[in-house]
Subunit: 173 residues, 2 copies
């Protein structure tokens, strides 16, 4: 009987290489961030991500659903992450007054201090990594990643730019 043998050329296609490099670069970066953030700030990259999103949001609060869309976590994953963050006092939940189904995740003072303490070390790592590129190359990389992100994760693109989901807020006069 005929076997479905792979075309040897197919397995050597350069797109596989690009994809593999992307995954490997991400794994290396993630490992570096994990090491630096846990040793120097005592928090995981996931926690830093959540705290950072809240810190950059006016009012330091975000609905659970919106926060999940901005992080790489699922709704249930975020619920449990916020459980843990609440347990150590970095975040607290607040009921949403206009919709009793909803819940806000709110950054506490301790949470804000934790981000403030962790951010310089994290920025130092990012700088140490991105220093291998010229400023122009960093810009190029950022622009390419932006287009890639928007294509593979349109929801995140919307979450980071409210005009895409709430155009009326910026309607021209």
């Amino acid at each position: 009987m005929a076997r479905a043998l792979p075309d040897p050329d197919l397995l050597q296609h350069p797109f596989f290489t690009t994809g593999g490099l992307f995954v490997e670069a991400h794994a290396g970066l993630q490992a570096g961030m994990e090491k630096q953030l846990t040793t120097e700030a005592g928090i995981s990259p996931q926690w830093f991500d959540v705290l950072m999103r809240l810190a950059r949001t006016p009012g330091h609060r975000l609905r659970m659903t919106d926060l999940a869309a901005q992080t790489i976590l699922s709704a249930s994953g975020l619920t449990r992450a916020v459980d843990r963050l609440e347990g150590v006092g970095l975040v607290r939940r607040e009921a949403c007054p206009s919709d009793r189904r909803g819940s806000y995740a709110v950054l506490t003072d301790a949470g804000l201090e934790a981000v403030a303490a962790a951010a310089p070390a994290h920025l130092a790592l990012m700088t140490q990594v991105l220093e291998i590129f010229t400023p122009a190359e960093v810009e190029t990389l950022t622009a390419l990643l932006h287009r890639l992100r928007d294509h593979v994760n349109p929801e995140a693109a919307c979450a980071s730019d409210p005009r895409l989901t709430h155009p009326e807020a910026e309607a021209p006069a």
Copy 2:
């Protein structure tokens, strides 16, 4: 008492944006690969990665340690992944004749067929994604990712280019 308030400008540093885009782009790509590979080929991206590495290696075999270095898995993570792959007959273990501590992971015929079946769909996804770029942009992205990977994960760089670890194999005459 003085609080360690964050410098608002610091949290807006463009390097955080670049890092965030990288993580988000990766998450989106990973989700797409997960969906496509599981529905169309019945295997996870992790399995595909392991099988692909073996398929691209002469003899279709690799020492556990070397395979772990080429994948993004730890030694114990690879042990368990190979356990599962062996359980469904896609990979088998073989003793290393020259070093009785060692063990080879070897692609079975069924494993080779599984890669052959999964590769076209995976390549189609990569193509659909990378088509948002011009060929020149793909080259640029690949080159930047290559430098990034080599910087954040030198071990992977060695694993993918034996000359870096075994220079005598290519010694000039």
